[in-house]
Amino acid sequence: MQKKYLSIFALALLGLTASAQDNVYPAASQKGVTIITHTTVHVGNGTTLTDASVAFENGKIIGVGNVAVPAGATVIDGTGKQVYPGLILPTSDLGLREISSGVRGSNDYAEIGENNANIRSIVAYNTDSKIIGVLRENGILLAGVAPQGELIEGQASVVQLDAWNYEDAAYKMDNGLYINMPSLMPRRGGRMAFMRPGPGGDPVKAAMEKIETLKQFFKDAKAYYQEKTHAANNLKLEAVRGLFDGKQKLFVRANEVKQILLAMDLATSFGFKLVIVGGTEAYQIADLLAENNVPVILDRQHALPSMEDDDVDQPYKTPAVLQKAGVLFCLNDTHDQSRFRNLAFNAGTAATYGLTKEQALSAVTLNAAKILGIEDKTGTIEAGKDANLLIVNGDLLDMKSSVIGQAFIQGRNVSLDNKCKQLYNRYKHKYQLK
């Protein structure tokens, strides 16, 4: 299956230039019924079904388990294969940052200014990014896209990764406001501190002052909404209405315990739905997070421990600590040089260090869907949800066998080709390799 698939593309690609990929087309809408039969289904909610079928029609899953093959259905024999929900990259700068280093023109992820409540990542999301195809190849079918900034970073959206333009891509627009919680670490600056410029004075005090400006902003917003008429339209205040009426979540980038606690205080004061993004030290207060129903998007697991005395594998073990405490969390992959593609393997690492494989899978599918507010549409292989799924030849979470055969977004059989594969084929041709 896989080989055949590749060779078809190989033929199509001969003679392309190095800047190829322009012939990788977003798939057209699904027509009719497709059914994958006799396969192992990893539902995404912790359960697996063996020798099961998955049927989907017009983009929606219509049956999972023991499903009769509908007349006229396209049948995919799933014998020996594994079917997984499409992976969800919970937060990223995908489509906003193409080549970060040395090419300023390719960067649209960080706006200037302290308060950018009104800026929206979706409008700059570039569906023609060369990175997107590589993510599809690695099973990532949906992604959160968020701006970055000094304090109030702006509005995030969720996109599906097979689209002609950002309006096509939008899966859930403006699902949350991102805030960057200032660090409360009284940093000394290391051995070479004298060489790098830094803010003078007390960093903790400076952070607390910034948090105060955050609170003032939300107080002002509340007051503004009570005004019958406004002297002037305030884009920043208008932008956060969704937080107050519960349509949006507040995503706070916070890694230190103090940052997380202050984020919780902020959310509670205004009744916002909070999500912690980062959460390096979240394991220290896992019970508190569970008690207060605060979900966490963990930054990648493939990180070094915070302190030299910490367990050498602490970041690998953090998901298991959260799972045990009952915290809703999902995993992310923020590695800057592999550009998100190893999300499945971050889950694999979590499975090596305390999660079950199915729990680890939930951490990159269902849990992410819940946290992003899209669990009604995706995150598991269940009837009624979008047919966002993967057919994998081996274990999705283990790199040595994680080869994705086919992927479907909203039932559309999406291309797994990309510029990298095209270059691969181009040079296989040059060297006459098989």
Binding site: A18, E98, I99, S100, S101, G102, V103, K130, I131, M185, P186, R187, R188, G190, R191, F194, M195, N255, E256, V257, T280, E281, Q284, H302, A303, L304, P305, S306, M307, E308, D309, D311, V312, D313, P315, H335, D336, Q337, S338, R339, R341, N342, F345, A351, T352, L397, D398, M399, K400, S401, S402, V403, C420, K421, L423, Y424, Y427, K428, Y431, L433
Partner: protein, 1007 residues
């Protein structure tokens, strides 16, 4: 305050013994005898000799006689020192007192700024601004009484002073701390030459790293030697001239750290000299190594104060090592003494100079003998700076530099009363001179009615007046004036009787007012002096320490460094990397650090048996491209820095060594960064956790050097690059030019070996050309890969046949794999990196598979401290991307890097006779589910997953105890400092961002 100092100064000058003959006097001469006799004192003549009831006679600033039976000259002013102690004043062997050290500009050195290639110092001096042996502190020295006073108050009489700036700092002078003019306070104009690794205020770009500083100093020694041959081409070089002139002086090196000490000593030994080393306060952590080098040391007494760990969140980010050092630092001097090392103390550069005496006493409390302590304050420093003939003990003919103290100097309440320097008195705690403790008879005459009281006065002047009642009195004494007040009777609201008077020759007389305001007179005299309270000294044994020294000195270090064992691994699946392939149910015996036997049913008496059932044994992972375990990585100040050596600045205490052992890594190739075309010499290490900097090195391996091409070396991210080259076209020419120069150098060396300047940079290049050193070249795009090969192949025509041994990064390698194969290069790349800079826009994860299939020796490396511990998984990705077989993929992190590094005869596979560098995995080593259970290097278990879990628990326990102890200090009112995070410092090559973690500070030395 200012006026007081001034008047004191005038007083001193009036009484001084100095007479500077050449100076005109405004007024009339006022020359005095300057003869004093200090009698009845306990004189500590030197660290070994104590004279009870002794007399010290001084004349005109010098000691005339010391002893019990000493003739006191008639003209002597006699000072009765009954009950007092006299010590030689202390000598500080390393300060910058009065030397006018230039201040660092606030901004410091800025890597982002345009480069400064030459020295800014005008004149016929050295090419590098940080080399200034021509500086003589004596020329800029001016007395500074405020600073002098702070030294004097700590008991110092003489200091060595130098201009604390630069790598070669020139000479320092020995001066007294008397408030005389400069002319008379200088004892020795050029007493020693001083060095450091710190370029100080130099604004020149080079050196920008520790290894650059080391290379510069080594080159300077060579240049000086060469300059002595009077090379015509050099003209006059005042710096080198001075360097040679200073060679005969004592040589002091400011190391300030245990590893710096060893680094400095290696330079000294290389150039046949011996440094006196300012050793830092962490020497106790590696005392055996410090003893071995037979240096004499200068130690500080600036012990860290407790951290304020009240806030658990803040305490979380303080490392155990920092806490342990807080507890153990006061044991440092005792450790030096125990190891038989000669050392002195310096009070310079303390955060709080007032802590000097208390820290000195703390050192004694923590095990330092008083004899050694005194020697370290007097004789040793005087010897180090060559003035023991003048100071450092109390002997006739030496300077009259001595202290008068209330009690033995090491007792906790002892005060220095006076510090005499060159025969001049400086009050330190003048009020301590008199001890009024004792019983007095007080008689008050109130209009003819005499009332007698008994007054009991304690040393601190708290007193009771005993008449009808026992009444608490207030007494204050100022010079010879005394005030006493006490209540008329017991009870609240009693009115006070106030007396005021003068103390003259033991008799107290004066007048006062009674409770009703009536006038009275009074007198008092001593009836019984107080018996001296002998202070109970806390014995050294009473200091209970929680911390132990571990190797390395970090939380995850070991008290005992792991030792080589005979190990028999039974019944494992063995991935040999040899033609036998993967063997099932096989035993492997490790003995004497080598793989001794491979087979079934092996037995070995006395061997430690590890059950490998269901587990996988593989050769240790070799990381071809890493930047761990070093203190600096990039010397980017010039485009060619072949002279710098990563191996000069290893940091064996980098926690990432241990973390990578946990990921099955046994050897790492530590590369210079990619800031310049011809970077520095690399260092291959074995991950021997707990060893020294030298102990890390992989013995017998071919040496390598790092080259780099592309964006980094043309400084793409710099907005104001002024360093050639700025394009790939220029990079190619830098390569050609470098080897052109090397060819000429080699010819010149051959023709005139004695007169040709030995150039460390060109020497390294000739090593490459003669295949004694090998290139590993950072590269990305196909143009540069090709031109680098061609630039080097051009030298074939001149009879050289060296090549580019390894292309590293090489993400475009798949485009020119055939050319690389033909050139004979290995390729060391990443599995799946892409899209982080322009030159990797064509990077593909299938790169390794293509290069491998074309026949290039292909390696997967980390260049990243985090990913290095998952290199087995990175190899697993090559199965995914391109379908390379599991065996071949695993070789990319074991045997293939061994081949690329020319060590495949030692490591890289499981074969009898190879080094016992192996890993026992829980699963197929290419799987994400695989964990290293044991990582073994040279037959020594450096990582044991079960032991690691235990150690983690111990760390928590140790931290808790130390936090409690620090809190105890805080509650006891001792000083604390804020618990700022102990940051982890990761060096990066300057190519890309590295895997972050919460508390890491990156020291990118991107130029």
């Amino acid at each position: 305050m200012r006026r007081i100092i001034l008047s004191l100064l005038l007083l001193v000058i009036g009484a001084t013994a100095f007479a500077q003959e050449s100076f005109p006097i405004n007024g009339v001469r006022d020359v005095r005898t300057g003869v004093y006799a200090f009698t009845n004192a306990t004189i500590i003549q030197n660290e070994k000799t104590k004279i009870e009831k002794g007399t010290l006679v001084i004349k005109q600033g010098k000691i005339v006689a010391v002893g019990v039976t000493v003739e006191i000259p008639k003209e002597a002013i006699i000072v009765d020192c009954n009950g007092k102690f006299i010590y030689p004043s202390f000598v500080d062997p390393l300060t910058d007192y009065g030397a006018n050290t230039p201040k660092r500009t606030a901004a410091g050195f800025n890597f982002g700024a345009a480069a400064q290639f030459g020295s800014n110092k005008a004149g016929a001096y050295n090419w590098n601004q940080a080399i200034k042996p021509e500086v003589n502190a004596v020329e800029s020295f001016s007395t500074d009484d405020a600073v002098a006073m702070s030294f004097r108050n700590n008991g110092y009489g003489v200091v060595f002073t130098h201009v604390k700036d630069g790598i070669a700092r020139g000479t320092g002078a020995v001066v007294t701390l008397a408030s005389t003019n400069e002319n008379n306070s200088i004892l020795k104009s050029k007493a020693a030459q001083v060095f450091s690794f710190d370029k100080g205020t130099s604004t020149q770009s080079y050196p920008s790293s520790l290894m650059g500083s080391i290379a510069l100093l080594r080159q300077t020694y060579l240049d000086a030697k060469w300059y002595a041959t009077k090379p015509a081409a050099e003209g006059v070089n005042l710096s080198l001239e001075a360097f040679n002139a200073n060679a005969g002086l004592p040589q002091i090196f400011v190391g300030d750290d245990k590893w710096s000490t060893l680094r400095a000593d290696r330079i000294a030994k290389e150039f046949g000299t011996q440094y006196i080393i300012r050793g830092g306060d962490n020497g106790y952590q590696r005392i055996d190594e410090l003893a071995k080098i037979k240096a004499s040391y200068i130690l500080g007494l600036d012990f860290p104060v407790a951290l304020d760990v009240e806030d658990a969140n803040d305490a979380r980010f303080v490392s155990l090592a920092e806490m342990k050092h807080w507890e153990l630092a006061p044991t440092n001097p005792a450790a030096f003494e125990k190891a038989g090392i000669n050392f002195s103390f310096s009070a310079a550069d303390m955060r709080d100079g007032k802590q000097f005496l208390s820290n000195l006493r703390k050192a004694v409390q923590y095990g330092l003998s008083e004899t050694k302590a005194l020697e370290a304050l007097t004789k040793t420093p005087a010897q180090q700076i060559g003035v023991y003939d003048q100071v450092g003990s109390l002997e006739a003919g030496k300077l009259a530099n001595f202290l008068i103290t209330t009690e033995p100097i090491f007792n906790s309440n002892t005060k220095i009363i006076e510090n005499w320097i060159q025969g001049n008195k400086y009050d330190v705690n003048a009020s301590e001179w008199n001890n009024f403790a004792g019983k007095y008879k007080l008689t008050i005459n109130n209009a003819g009615t005499k009332t007698d009281y008994t007054v009991e006065i304690k040393k601190d002047l708290s007193a009771n007046v005993i008449g009808v009642d026992t009444l608490s009195a207030k007494i204050s004494v100022s010079e010879s004036l005394v005030k006493i007040s006490f209540p008329e009777k017991k009870g609240r609201g009693a009115e006070s009787i106030r007396l005021s008077g003068v103390i003259a020759s033991g008799a107290w007389n004066g007048f006062g007012t009674d409770a009703k305001g009536g006038k009275l007179t009074w007198s008092a005299s001593l009836t019984a002096p107080a018996t001296a309270v002998v202070e109970e000294k806390k014995a050294a044994e009473t200091v209970k320490l929680i911390s132990k020294v571990t190797y390395p000195f970090v939380g995850l270090g070991n008290e005992i460094v792991p030792q080589q064992e005979t190990i028999l691994i039974k019944n494992a699946t063995v991935w040999t990397n040899e033609k036998e392939g993967n063997l099932q149910n096989t035993d492997v015996l490790l003995k004497a650090g080598k793989i001794s036997k491979i087979g079934k049913g092996l037995t070995e008496a006395g061997a430690r048996v590890i059950d490998g059932t269901g587990k996988y044994l593989s050769p240790g992972i070799i990381d071809e491209h890493s930047h761990i375990g070093a203190l600096s990585i990039n010397e980017g100040a010039q485009s060619t820095t072949a002279e710098v050596r990563v191996g000069d600045n290893m940091n064996p205490e980098d926690i990432n060594i241990y973390r990578q052992l946990s990921g099955g890594v046994t050897s790492s190739h530590i590369l210079h960064g990619s800031a310049n075309t011809i970077g520095g010499q690399t260092q291959l290490i074995k991950l021997r956790w707990g060893t020294t900097d030298e102990g890390l090195k992989f013995a017998g391996a071919d040496p390598f050097i790092k080259f780099a091409l592309g964006e980094n070396v043309k400084r793409t991210t710099s907005t104001n690059n002024n360093r050639f080259p700025d394009t790939r076209m220029g990079v190619e020419e830098v390569l050609t030019d470098a080897f052109d120069k090397a060819v000429d150098y080699q010819k010149a060396m051959k023709a005139n070996p004695t007169t040709t300047r030995r150039d460390l940079e060109l020497e390294a290049l000739t090593e490459i050309m003669n295949k004694k050193r090998f290139i590993t070249c950072h590269s990305y795009v196909q143009t540069e890969i090709t031109y680098a090969m061609r630039a080097i192949e051009k030298f074939n025509a001149q009879g050289y046949d060296f090549n580019i041994n390894t292309f590293t990064h090489i993400l475009d390698g798949y485009k020119v794999a055939d050319k690389m194969k033909k050139h004979g290069s290995s390729a060391a790349t990443f599995s799946d990196w892409f899209a982080y800079k322009t030159e990797v826009t064509d990077a593909i994860a299938y790169n390794a598979a293509i290069m491998h299939n074309v026949g290039v020796n292909t390696v997967i490396n980390s260049d990243d401290a985090e990913m290095a511990r998952r290199l087995n998984q990175e190899a697993g990705k090559i199965v995914k991307y391109g379908g390379v077989s599991e065996e071949d993929a695993f070789k990319m992190v074991t045997l293939n890097p061994a081949k690329a590094l020319h060590i495949e005869n030692k490591v890289g596979s499981i074969k009898v006779g190879k080094d016992a560098d192996v890993v026992l995995w829980s699963e197929n080593p290419l799987s994400i589910y695989a964990k290293s259970l044991y990582t073994i290097v040279d037959g020594t278990v450096y990582f044991d997953r079960e032991k690691d879990a235990e150690r983690s628990k111990q760390i928590t326990a140790e931290r808790t105890k130390l936090i409690q102890k620090m809190l105890g200090d805080k509650r006891a009112g001792m000083p604390t400092r804020p618990a700022t995070p102990s940051t982890q410092i990761l060096l990066e090559c300057g190519d890309h961002d590295h895997n972050e973690d919460l508390n890491t500070i990156y020291e990118s030395q991107k130029n």
